[in-house]
């Protein structure tokens, strides 16, 4: 399958792919060297990125070229670039591969972006658990700095770029861009209210651009091979490739970098199809914060921004979670809500109080303590959170709940009416505990 792994994961099968030598052997740093030599007009680079159709790969899918044009390059104040490597969206494991296997391409992307912004300092904020990744990135920066690809006066061009790796402290919400800035400043990781936007008032109050790891790692390839080449990989409104992380009830879970617009069916096939010959029940296409899509809608779905949006969900981070017909949707949702209850930063009232309330109702349902009307209550509480918080975490709680209930309301009603007995379990005895290992974390909660 030659369409696989062409951009961010292009060198993953080379030996010691994370070294400078390996990266340069496939043409790495050629775009950066060219920019340094020719002093390319940053506006031309932005044009290229716009033309390539590259969109933010972190989840929101904002057009990268447009974002880059927000920072006033001529503003004489210190500007910053922040690379968001705090990959924490449940079901997502794409940046981890870039950081461990292809760190130089990311660093080249950071350098190019920083050059475009006129930023002399860039931070690569890694998730707290990414110890190996941190070491690889540190080593890569050291190698690149030794070759003067980074540092002061890069290759005699007069361009200064310093990159720092920063290891987080284990909070999901720091993946939100303004919470990341707070964390970088040494404060509690809590999102800021926007406006002001980071492009005006970001890190330490200075103009700041924040991009996802995959977005930045795509940049050198775009400049090497041309914007047209990249755009043509994908569909009309979704240029290039995207890394999808297939998890859940498939035979061969894995990470695949495929052109945007690849049919979901093909992707499912790459992952070896549904396990044990079972039937597909539902899909979360872009990490657990996105809405659920049922089996019927998913089968003709193309994996690009617009087609998934037309199904009522979003491409998100590319964490595709496959659920087969043995999945109890109440349990699945409860499992997800436990995560959100744990990770709410506690700043805004609806999210702080609502996350625990939603989780509590779901636990009651599973424990057989729910009362008639609790499904409506669950739905109402989730709806009340949506749109009323500082950051998108409110939606990340609300959307899964409302979409799960919208699509599988009968399962929720059944479990309430039957004292905690799952509808799936009653159809498929024993299936209940296969799904997400509920008993195990129920015990942990008690600890």
């Amino acid at each position: 399958m030659n369409s696989l792994n062409q951009v961010c994961l292009r060198n993953t099968d080379t030996d010691q792919s994370w070294t400078l030598e390996a990266y340069e052997s496939i043409g790495g740093y050629s775009a950066w060297r060219k920019i340094l030599k020719e002093k390319t007009d940053p506006n031309l680079i932005i044009e290229q990125i716009k033309k390539s159709g590259l969109r933010g790969r972190g989840g929101a899918g904002f057009a990268t070229g447009l974002k880059w044009s927000f920072v006033d390059r001529d503003n004489p104040t210190q500007k910053y670039l922040v690379c968001n490597s705090d990959e924490g969206e449940p079901g997502t494991c794409k940046d981890t591969l870039i950081l461990t296997l292809n760190p130089h391409q990311l660093i080249e992307g950071i350098a190019i972006c920083a050059y475009v912004m006129g930023a002399t300092k860039a931070y690569n904020y890694l998730r707290g658990e990414f110890i190996l990744h941190y070491k690889r990135c540190e080593a890569a920066i050291k190698e690149a700095t030794e070759k003067n690809l980074l540092g002061a006066d890069c290759l005699g061009s007069g361009v200064d770029i310093e990159i720092f790796n920063v290891l987080g402290a284990g909070s999901y919400i720091v993946g939100e861009e303004t919470a990341m800035l707070e964390s970088l400043e040494g404060k509690r990781g809590m999102p800021r209210y926007k406006p002001p936007f980071p492009a005006m008032h970001g890190l330490y109050g200075k103009p700041t651009t924040i991009n996802n790891t995959e977005t930045l790692a795509s940049v050198p390839v775009i400049l090497e091979k041309g914007a047209d080449w990249f755009a043509e990989l994908g569909t009309e409104r979704s240029g290039g490739t995207k890394i999808f992380c297939i998890s859940g009830h498939v035979n061969k879970p894995g990470v695949f970098e495929v052109p945007l617009g690849t049919p979901f069916k093909d992707l499912l096939e790459m992952a070896g199809g549904i396990r044990q010959g079972r039937k597909l029940k539902a899909v979360i296409p872009g990490g657990t914060s996105m809405k659920l899509i049922n089996a019927n809608d998913s089968l003709d779905m193309k994996m690009d921004y617009s087609d998934i949006a037309s199904k009522g969900s979003a491409l998100g981070s590319g964490g595709v979670i496959i659920m087969d017909d043995s999945t109890c949707m109440v349990q699945a949702l409860c499992h997800m809500m436990r995560f959100y209850e744990e990770e709410s930063c506690g700043q805004c009232t609806p999210c702080r109080e609502g996350s625990g309330w939603v989780y509590g109702i779901l636990k009651d349902m599973l424990a057989g303590k729910a009362k008639p009307g609790d499904v409506d209550e669950l739905y109402r509480v989730a709806k009340n959170i949506e749109g009323r918080t500082i950051c998108a975490f409110g939606e990340a709680i609300s959307w899964p709940v409302t979409s799960f209930v919208d699509l599988f309301r009968e399962e929720f009603e059944f479990i309430v009416a039957n004292n905690g007995k799952s509808m799936v379990e009653s159809k498929l005895p024993g299936a209940n505990h296969l799904a997400f290992g509920w008993p195990a974390y129920e015990q942990r909660d008690k600890l």
Binding site: E342, E343, G346, T349, R352, I361, D364, I390
Partner: protein, 769 residues
């Protein structure tokens, strides 16, 4: 857009003008449109976390927080629409699910923002069936009581600490529903402004500990007060029980009164909790000492005895001295001086701590022409012998504001002060300050008389920009005070600077104006001089010289030998020994009056409660004494009659035009005790407030290693004994480089204080355990 065109926004159908940068809530507040809020406070940063102020804005996809959304031209805001109500009710429901329903036993009840807003936006019942969150309480010290289960995480207290008090004592730990506000260090809250967190807390999580379970806000009457504990004149509200519903007349609590010119919405803990001392140790009846025992007499008898005594004393006016507190209302100072003058007495003083008074009668009113609001405009501030953070906390906060706005602050002091702003601190012996100022004077090009040629020049201070010079308590008590004031004024004149001399007590300027209105040119003899002269009769008005004067031991010695008549509200232990007649007078909560702060703000305050037992307002006592002596002009019907006699217009009396005639040289001999009066020992009310005294930590003496070596004390000893004027006390030893050579600084409770301030002390190490 042209300059003159007005920007308008539509809120609830009304077209309203706004200034660029204003938020929706600011425009709404300015126009009387109420939007509910918890986290928003006009004097704190905006965090938009409570979400209560969500409002519908046309063309916005979702409801926006009114506190954090800037208004723009043509914006249409609907604060009463269905979408707004839905959003606000949803937030209210979330806020209430974990909030305990303990309003009946909550001190905030009746003045609780959550209670109020929930009346309008809350549901009648709750669908929440899980168990409510419970949070462990933390002991924040003697002033703030906590019930953290009630906390709604608005973070006003956290922001107050970070932004206003300048010390992050409270913060948030834990995430999501497990988030808790606390100190983490479990070390209490120590800021001198901490009580403001009680006002800021919109619920009953932080309440006043001394006021705990004492009363309900709806049962109180409210009177305007002004702080009597420093020269800033912080504005207060004094809350008292409504006596018409059968309560005793008593001050229940003190809260800030907003005044943007002085204290905005903040007051110091000292101003807030001093009321707890109002009823302690009071003199309840006029008393006369006969054969060494105190006998209660009625007012008539007491006044007759006093009148007779004064009739005799008139024969030797040189032998009589009246010492007044500088913290009495102007009217009291006026009538007391009027009566004293009529008696033909020469010596009266409202300057308890002033030491070097050579310049005093040559200069104008003790006011600098500096306004509080202008402090943040200065780019450079120099504080000499002053630590407003502890002595005048509201001024300290203004200096912090100024520093945050970019001003450079320089401290010249004998110890490195723990500050809540960045400052250059020059640590040197107070006797070297004249030399340091000489250096600055030379640099600024000040022309000086020949007699200054012999003063050594020290170039540690070398400012080049116009500065505001703040002279503090250590200068008041400095033996070269007049020379320092002269030099600083000359430097300021030469460099376009200004001088702010912090005065004693609350009303030094008022007392000066009272004397001036009587034609005495505002002159008062420094009390330290009068108290050292061993007069035959001392009249003490609202002072306890053994604690209030600079040389306590000295003063007490004179008082012990003399006949002492005291008009005072409070007893002190020593007063029982030295006084011969005491007349109980009202303290500030029991009378009305006018005081003038160091910035020249003339402020009136009202009596809040009835006088304590037989105590009477002092002006009435002096009026009767005047009547008994059949003096003219003592027929005042009310305090307003006295007020009208006083000329409060001092604009033509500002100015410093003293020329020193000689320079006195000071020898650094042994160790100088450099501490000034402890801020919580500043007057009898504060000294009697138990909650405030409970915040005072252990008595410590700080000395540098060099000094210890010089006086031969092993730096490893745990304690030292300090001897002054025959009084010996023991202190824990703190060896630090932050104290100037040959200086020792005390910190600790007032009862452990040495009798003399800014004076020599003899130290000895205590070697046995």
């Amino acid at each position: 857009m042209t300059k003159n065109s007005k920007l308008t926004v539509e809120i609830d159908g009304k077209k309203l003008e706004f200034k660029p940068g204003q938020s929706i809530i600011e425009v709404a507040d300015a126009n009387g449109i109420y939007i509910p809020r918890f986290c928003y406070h006009k004097n704190l940063s905006v965090v938009a976390n409570c979400r209560m102020c969500l409002v519908e804005v046309e063309k916005a996809p979702k409801a926006l927080p009114a506190c954090a959304t800037p208004v723009s031209e043509g914006m249409v805001v609907k604060t009463k629409s269905k979408a707004t109500r839905l959003a606000q009710k949803a937030v209210m429901e979330f806020l209430l699910i974990n909030h305990p329903l303990d309003c009946p036993i909550c001190d905030q009840g009746g003045e609780c923002e959550l209670q109020d807003v929930s009346m309008g936006y809350g549901a009648t019942g709750s669908n929440f069936r899980q168990s409510k969150r419970a949070v462990k309480d933390e002991d924040l010290g003697p002033l703030i009581s906590t019930v953290m289960t009630r906390c709604i995480h608005c973070t006003r207290c956290v922001r107050f600490g970070r932004e206003i008090a300048g010390v992050s004592e409270l913060g948030a730990c834990g995430r999501g529903g497990h988030m808790e506000i606390g100190t983490y260090l479990k070390d209490g809250v120590k800021s001198e402004l901490s009580g403001n967190m009680i006002d800021l807390c919109p619920v009953g999580a932080l309440t006043s500990k001394p006021f705990k379970f004492k009363g309900r806000s709806w049962g109180f009457g409210q009177h305007k007060g002004v702080s009597m504990h420093d020269c800033i004149g912080t504005n207060l509200f004094v809350h008292v029980h409504n006596t018409n519903i059968g309560h005793e007349s008593k001050v229940m609590r003190v809260l800030p009164r907003e005044n943007d010119l002085i204290n905005e919405t903040w007051i110091a803990d000292r101003d807030r909790f001093s009321y707890m001392g109002l009823d302690k140790n009071r003199i309840s009846q006029p008393m006369v000492k006969r054969n060494g025992t105190w006998i209660e007499v009625d007012w008539q008898e007491a006044l007759t005895i006093v009148a007779q005594k004064m009739e005799q004393a008139k024969a030797a006016p040189q032998e009589c001295a009246m010492i007044m507190s500088p913290s009495i209302p102007t009217e009291e100072a006026y009538i007391a001086n009027q009566w004293w003058n009529e008696l033909g007495m020469a010596y009266s003083s409202h300057q308890i701590k002033l030491t070097d008074s050579r310049d005093y009668k040559f200069t104008g009113a003790p006011v600098s022409g500096v306004k509080m609001s202008e402090i943040s405009d200065w780019n450079s501030l120099v504080l000499i012998g002053s630590n407003p953070k502890s002595q005048q906390p509201i001024l300290g906060w203004n200096i912090r504001k100024s520093q945050l706005a970019g001003a450079k602050v320089t401290h010249l002091s004998s110890i490195r002060n723990a500050l809540n702003y960045e400052a250059d601190q020059i640590i040197s012996h107070p006797y070297d300050w004249l030399s340091i100022l000489m250096g600055q004077a030379k640099k600024s090009g000040v022309k000086l008389d020949k007699m200054w040629d012999d003063v050594p020049v020290n170039k540690q201070l070398a400012l080049t920009v116009p500065s505001l010079w703040v002279l503090g308590e250590q200068i008041t008590m400095h033996p070269q005070g007049s020379l320092i004031r002269y030099l600083v004024n000359e430097i300021a004149k030469k460099t376009k600077g200004k001088v702010l001399t912090l005065t004693e007590g609350a009303n030094t300027l008022g007392c000066w104006l009272a004397s001036d209105s009587l034609g005495a040119e505002g002159v008062s003899y420094p009390a330290s001089e009068l108290l050292s002269q061993e007069k035959g009769l001392y009249w003490l008005h609202q002072v306890h010289p053994e604690q209030d004067a600079q040389f306590g031991a000295h003063s007490q010695n004179s008082l012990d030998k003399a006949f002492v008549i005291a008009t005072n509200s409070f007893w002190s232990e020593k007063m029982k020994q030295y006084a011969d007649i005491v007349l109980p007078v009202s303290t500030y909560s029991e009378m009305s009056g006018t005081i003038v702060n160091v910035f020249g703000n003339v402020q009136k305050f009202q009596a809040a409660v009835m006088p304590y037992e037989a105590a009477r307002p002092a002006w009435k006592v002096f009026r009767v004494l005047g009547n008994l002596a059949e003096f003219e002009g003592f027929d005042y019907q009310s305090i307003d009659d006295i007020t009208s006699k006083i000329n409060f217009d001092f604009t033509d009396k500002i100015g410093y035009d003293y020329q020193p005639v000689s320079v006195n040289y000071l020898e650094k001999d042994g160790v100088l005790q450099t501490a000034v009066t402890h801020p919580l020992s500043c007057d009898a009310i504060v000294r009697n407030s138990k909650p405030l005294q409970d915040t005072v930590t252990q008595s410590i003496i700080s000395i540098s290693p060099d000094t210890l070596k010089e006086i031969g004390i092993d730096p490893k000893v745990k304690a030292v004994s300090a001897l002054q004027s025959g009084i010996k006390r023991t202190y824990e030893l703190n060896v630090t480089d932050d104290v100037a050579y040959q200086c020792a600084e005390l910190s600790g409770g007032y009862s452990q204080f040495l009798p003399d301030l800014m004076a020599k002390v003899t130290l000895e190490g205590i070697y046995n355990d």
